[in-house]
Amino acid sequence: MILYWVFVLAAATLLYVLLDGFDLGVGILFGLTGDEARRRAMLGAVAPVWDGNETWLVVTGVVLWGAFPLVYATLLSAFYLPIFAMLAGLILRGVAFEFRYKTQRLRWMWDAGFAGGSLVAAFIQGMTVGALVEGLPVADGRYVGGTFGWLSPFAILCGLGLCLGYMLLGACWLVRKCDGDVRDDAYRLIPRLSIGLMLFLIVVFAYALIDHLAILRRWFERPYLFVFPAIGVAASILLAKSVRRRRDTPPFYMVATIFAAAFGTLAISFWPYMIPFSITVNQAASGHASLAFMFWGEGIFVFPLMLLYTAISFRVFRGKATSEPVHY
């Protein structure tokens, strides 16, 4: 039962990262251009799906609370200010989709909210992961680091890294969904973003080596972990190829594979800890009565339904976004 809920949590988190990852990325790229036609095309490429993407964040949150209350309570209270900043960012970018078309004069305001909100949300998610990798100060099952205990150069580095990563994912999404200028711009950006991301990974790795992060030991204990970087490298090569040939569909899947590989690497190097290296899955898990109650309703029926529904939504909106949003 515990394993089932670990699986649901992992699936929901990975889905969130991949799905909201690209639309947050598009949001950041949106801030890089001032051209109204480009902006509309970019919004049009994510408008149909962003709302559903964000649902997975809520699913992650509530599954964490119901199935692993200890982790929910510890993480959210530890990252107090970042969580609120992220929520504010997500709200601002969410309403911008609708409100920017309601006004000419104040459009700049919603646009700034859209790009800024996306950037803040992406940065904070990366920073959170960075702080977790480095290890949160936890004693006796409670966070003891104070208001800014998560803040470190490494965490900030990871925040910037995830922004780059999401931008890459977003650029690949734009290549897939758009035509014309936006597609050309995205193609120009992809190699730069990829190189940036590569540099970031090298720096992170070097930092981890120099700082003797506990997580590195895992790699020597579990050599099979190297499968994931290998998958990542393979995907990168295919990415480079498909970008050079200007094939619109594969880049997104390749970057998604890289993300999934990175996610797998982290998940397995954390295992069996949920908050490395202080709280394990078994310590955090709710008792059987709670997990079983969740399983027989939302676990076995609703969750598969949600996966199916997400798949259908993306199928309905497959292909190029042929028109701009018509509603203004």
Partner: protein
């Protein structure tokens, strides 16, 4: 009052949840209203019903969207500010809240898609069924939220293991008698909110002398529904009072403003409770009525606040006043609904401008009643977060600093006021445009799970008379 992280967290939770509750209570009501309209349209084939349906579907989109956005914050706030609560009760509360998210997503999101897209693609009965499913989804969401809150009011079916509260009997939690009184109370409150907003919109159109056919449908149906529902709501309100009387005597005493034991007890109608002198100033009371309300008898003894040590008493002023405001709103709405329905049956309603204006201005009352009702329930539960089990001061995140709590509170206050201003403007514009023009045709790239996308209207090209 000293500014502590505890106080700020309470303020923040109160503010964000009060802001949030406005939208779901409205959307539950409107969803139910949509079923009625669609059923009537199927039965009679009158196009006006269809017009009104499409119009309220657009409003539903905006309200539903704002409800979702503000609800996301709630899902995280338990962990950020109330980490001790969420750690200890997660195995019960976390599970209930997770059901809320899952059922909401499954029913509302998927069937809402059919409401937006499906009119031409599915059979009429299935379209009606989808409308019903959206409504069921919003009601189920409310059910899980009420299950969670009722467990905090009167915790049942739990056991304590290593300082955590774990479920011992899910049936006791889900079929709690408290839940099955409070859930209908909230549900009817939502339906009344819908009914009065609909009636007020109808009255507005009649006063402006445009869309009179649609306006009449809205006004009459809203008032008729309220005529039946307000008395029912008073009945469930009474039952809710009974559970408070039985399980939370100190809250009951605070609501009644009763400081000392009385036999038979009088009922304070108005007054101003003062906790330092433990009396009510300027009180107007009716003898014996207190016993009648509390225990349905003429000579029962009713307990007073001074039976409880001060550290176990809730603040008295807020529950006392907010309860009276709630009941006051309810009585005004009752009068309005009955007089309005009577006039309507006599076919004199549409020309009675006074009543039309009164109905128009009544639309904030259900919202005020819902908010003050919740203030009564939640402030009255203090100083407990889980009544009798976990104190609020023990539930708060222990290491939260005043500074951090202040930053988040100010951030969300400003953000919500900002959104509220624009959201209101937006709904106002939808109402101004009225039930005309094209029927809802979704933009090609709109998606079910993006509710606000239906709310888009093309402003009318010509000015149709009625200046604002």
């Amino acid at each position: 009052m000293e500014l502590t992280a505890l106080l700020l967290s309470r303020l923040q939770f109160a503010f964000t949840i009060s802001f949030h509750i406005i939208f779901p209570s409205f959307s539950i009501g409107v969803a139910a209203w949509l079923i009625v309209l669609e059923a009537l349209y199927l039965a009679t084939g009158r196009p006006a019903y269809r017009q009104v349906f499409e119009f309220w579907l657009r409003i539903f989109g905006v309200i539903f969207g704002l409800g979702v956005v503000t609800g996301v914050v709630m899902a995280f706030e338990f962990g950020t500010n109330w980490s001790e609560l969420s750690r200890r009760t997660g195995e019960i509360q976390g599970v209930l809240i997770s059901y809320e998210t899952f059922t909401a997503f499954a029913l509302e999101a998927s069937f809402f898609g059919i409401l937006v897209f499906g009119r031409s693609r599915v059979r009429p009965w299935f379209y009606l069924f989808s409308t019903a499913m959206v409504s069921l989804g919003t009601s189920l969401s409310a059910f899980w939220i009420m299950a969670n809150n009722s467990w905090m009011q009167v915790p049942l079916g739990y056991a304590i293991e290593n300082g955590s509260y774990v479920p011992a009997d899910w049936a006791a939690i889900i079929f709690s008698p408290v839940l099955w009184v409070r859930f209908p109370h909230m549900l009817i409150a939502s339906y009344l909110t819908g009914a009065f907003c609909v009636a007020a919109t109808g009255a507005w159109y009649l006063l402006r002398e445009e869309f009179t056919a649609e306006g009449q449908i809205m006004l009459r149906m809203g008032l008729y529904l309220a005529t039946v529902l307000v008395p029912l709501q008073l009945f469930f309100g009474h039952l809710t009072g009974d559970y408070v009387h039985r399980y939370q005597p100190v809250k009951f005493a605070a609501i009644e403003g009763r400081w000392h034991d009385e036999q038979p007890a009088s009922e304070v109608l108005f007054g101003f409770p003062d906790a330092t002198s433990e009396t009510n100033h300027y009180a107007i009371s009716v003898p014996i009525l207190g016993s009648l309300i509390g225990s349905l008898s003429f000579d029962s003894k009713e307990v007073g606040l001074t039976d409880f040590p001060p550290r176990d008493r809730p603040p008295v002023l807020i529950p006392f006043l907010s309860f009276r405001i709630m009941v006051g709103c309810g009585l005004v709405l009752l009068a309005l609904a009955w007089v309005g329905s009577y006039l309507s049956l006599r076919r004199r309603l549409e020309c009675n401008r006074l009543l039309l204006w009164a109905t128009f201005f009544s639309f904030p009352l259900p919202f005020i009643a819902i908010l003050t009702g919740w203030f009564t329930a939640e402030v009255g539960r203090q100083p407990w977060t889980v009544y009798g089990v976990l104190r609020t001061s023990e539930a708060v995140t222990p290491f939260l600093t005043v500074c951090a709590a202040l930053v988040s509170l100010l951030l969300f206050c400003s953000l919500y006021f900002f959104l509220f201003a624009f959201g209101t403007y937006y709904v106002h514009r939808l109402l101004r445009v009225g039930p005309v023009g094209r029927l809802v045709r979704p933009p090609i790239d709109a998606l079910p799970i993006r509710p606000m996308s239906v709310s888009v209207v093309t402003p009318r090209p010509v000015n149709l008379g009625g200046q604002p």
